[in-house]
């Protein structure tokens, strides 16, 4: 059994708390990604699970066994380090065989297991080389191979692709996805800065900030229904647009007054008591479009800057409502536009998210009826 249970896990270095009570359940065979800004405690949490750091308080269980004080090697865990941490004085074969040799496995078994892993990762031609005679991608695969050979219940990755160039990163990402498929019973936990990696690989994403869990959910859930403004800003690139507003008129369709006095009519259910309340409206850049004849116009503004990305272009539009930060709009790359042009924007009202003054997502009638 390789399900993980974390209950109120705290970690402090000296008097400085880094993790403030993490509660998390990870099912057997699940692929979970930890994301969050630098210094939020992703690596620390991973190292606590691995046993490289002691947990200050709380409980960590793998299967049914409390693992707080179990040595790293006895937790049934393997870890791929960001730096790969290959032993420089050993060949690829010896690197992969090291753990099995320490465990005193018979020679024949070691050879068989290392070769099986090497074949899986296309490392057979390199078995006799030292790590310094390998490319970055090959070293990466050796690090994964060393972990596979031990046949772990739980696989931990700490930013395994961050030392690779963009093309290799994409290729290795696919390989990791394939690896996961070939080991359906193995639980994987993956720390990353790169939300594309998290979105494409993970069954569930855990968003951390300052040692707290902000939200846990399937990638699309986090993307569509972020629990708060932080998650909304962190997941998705470019980030969700956030407009401060005030409830002007409540009802089946409510009216919101933006900072520049413009009024927005949205099919969001608000109660009478909420009139005058400060809220934030969140709209993803791709949910905004240039208004056509039939559209109900939402906002109007001047294009400050156009970023051409090929298939799409990102418009930075000054709508006056959010003074410092221009509104970002993702439109097809083929649309002919110029800077300083004035554009009228429209959006599918369902795509607008509502947050309260503290930045917590508010449940709306539409969202409830959809069942989220």
């Amino acid at each position: 059994m390789a399900n993980l249970t974390l209950r109120a896990v705290r970690k402090s270095y000296g008097t400085m708390p880094v993790l403030h009570g993490i509660d998390l359940d990870i099912a057997e065979g699940e692929f979970v990604a930890f994301v969050g800004p630098s210094g939020c405690g992703k690596s620390t949490l991973l190292r606590c699970i691995a046993g490289l750091e002691d947990i200050s308080s709380g409980e960590l269980r793998i299967g049914d066994i409390v693992m707080n004080h179990v040595a790293p090697a006895e937790r049934g865990i393997a870890m791929v380090f960001q730096s790969y941490a290959l032993y420089p004085h050993m060949t690829v074969f010896e690197n992969m065989a090291f753990g099995l040799r320490i465990a005193g496995r018979p020679k024949a078994e070691i050879t068989a297991r290392v070769h099986a892993a090497a074949e899986k990762l296309q490392l057979v031609p390199y078995l006799d080389r030292p790590p310094r005679a390998l490319s970055g991608g090959q070293r990466q695969r050796v690090a994964i191979g060393r972990a596979i050979v031990r046949d772990p219940q739980v696989f931990l990755f700490d930013e395994p692709l961050s030392n690779l160039d963009a093309a290799l990163r994409a290729a290795t990402r696919v390989e990791i996805a394939r690896l996961k498929k070939s080991m359906p019973g193995t639980t994987m936990i993956y720390v990353t800065h790169d939300q594309v990696e998290a979105m494409t690989l993970a069954d569930r994403i855990v968003v951390l900030r300052g040692g707290h869990i902000e939200q846990v959910g399937r990638p699309i859930e986090l993307y569509r229904n972020p629990a708060n403004l932080f998650v909304a800003g962190f997941i998705g690139s470019p980030a969700m647009n956030v407009l401060p507003a005030r409830v002007e008129h409540a009802g089946e369709r409510s009216v919101f007054r933006l900072a520049d006095e413009a009024l927005l009519h949205l099919p969001l259910q608000m109660s009478e008591s909420e009139v005058g309340r400060a809220v934030y409206l969140g709209i993803r850049p791709e949910d905004l479009r240039l208004a056509a004849e039939a559209d109900e116009p939402l906002l109007q503004g001047r294009i400050l800057l156009i970023e051409h990305l090929g298939e799409v272009q990102i418009l930075h539009v000054d709508v006056g409502a959010a003074k410092e930060t221009p509104l970002l709009v993702k439109v097809p790359g083929t649309t002919q536009l110029d800077e300083n042009m004035t554009v009228v924007l429209a959006a599918d009202p369902d795509s607008v998210r509502l947050f309260d003054a503290e930045g917590i997502a508010m449940r709306t009638l539409r969202a409830e009826s959809v069942g989220c």
Partner: protein, 277 residues
């Protein structure tokens, strides 16, 4: 002129070469002169100090070899064993100081490395008493013990600096692989420390082979005395036979010179890597 910009760099280069050659000559010539002196007769050393030997005679070397053989054995014994003990103890200590959690670690580091400040001369009188109490005064064991004790701090200092630079990830990877601290030390850290270990071995050999003060004070019998002491006693006995003394000196210096030339590449690499980065 196209040649103009080539002229000055080549002059600088030539001057650098000349300077280095002069320095080299300055160091090598006395040694060379000493070695040559061993082939001359005593009278020629005085009449013709800078000439080549009149007749290349190995007689002096033969006498010197016979006279120094006993000291040579002592020196070899003391040097080899104290090198082994010093480097082994220092490597373990450095591992402990860099890789384990000890309460009050800075203090422990301070005490161990503070040993480098200890001047051997100050400790001489108590040491004589101590070694007499232990009953090892005038034995090889006395020298081995002293050389180890006095060189562990410095050797630890060098190895510790090197170990601090080794990435922690390697320890952690080995830990995940199930290695005990002892296995991490022997199978991961020690092999990676090879360059600095070689440097430390060479440095200790240089020290132990040439050490004079302890060897003179803590040994009496010719069977126990090491080469530096043996050479001085030979000088006082055969004070007038300079040719034989030169030959003996050459013989005693030779092993060190050979060891240094064989290992200098690794020796320098170990030291610069420890400091660098």
């Amino acid at each position: 002129m196209t040649g103009g910009h080539r002229f000055w760099p080549s002059v600088t280069k030539a001057m650098l070469w000349a300077f280095l050659c002069a320095m080299g000559l300055l160091v090598i010539y006395p040694l060379f002169w000493m070695g040559l002196g061993g082939f001359k007769s005593n009278s020629q050393i005085f009449s013709d100090p800078f000439a080549l030997p009149e007749s290349w005679s190995f007689a002096n070397y033969l006498t010197a070899w016979q006279a120094t053989q006993g000291y040579m054995v002592s020196s070899l014994l003391v040097t080899l064993i104290s090198t082994l003990t010093t480097v082994t103890i220092s490597a373990w200590t450095a591992f402990g100081l860099t890789r384990t959690e000890i309460p009050g670690k800075p203090l422990v580091v301070g005490i161990v490395l503070g040993g480098m400040m200890l001047s051997p001369t100050v400790a001489l009188v108590p040491l004589v008493r101590m070694l007499q109490d232990y009953g090892i005064y005038d034995t090889h064991a006395a020298l081995i013990l002293l050389y180890t004790a006095f060189r562990v701090p410095f050797t630890t200092f060098l190895i510790r600096a090197y170990m601090l630079d080794l990435p922690r990830d390697l320890d952690e990877a080995a830990m995940m692989d199930g290695a005990s601290p002892g296995q991490i030390f022997r199978k991961v850290i020690l092999p990676l420390c090879q360059p600095i270990l070689i440097s430390c071995v060479v440095l200790h050999i240089l020290f132990a082979w040439n050490e004079y003060l302890f060897a003179m004070i803590f040994t009496n019998s010719p069977g126990v005395q090491t080469l530096p002491v043996g050479l001085t006693s030979m000088m006082s006995k055969q004070g007038t036979n300079f040719a034989a003394v030169f030959a003996a000196m050459t013989i005693s210096a030779l092993p060190i010179v050979i060891i240094f030339f064989l290992t200098q590449r690794y020796f320098i690499r170990g030291l610069t890597q420890g400091i660098g980065k």
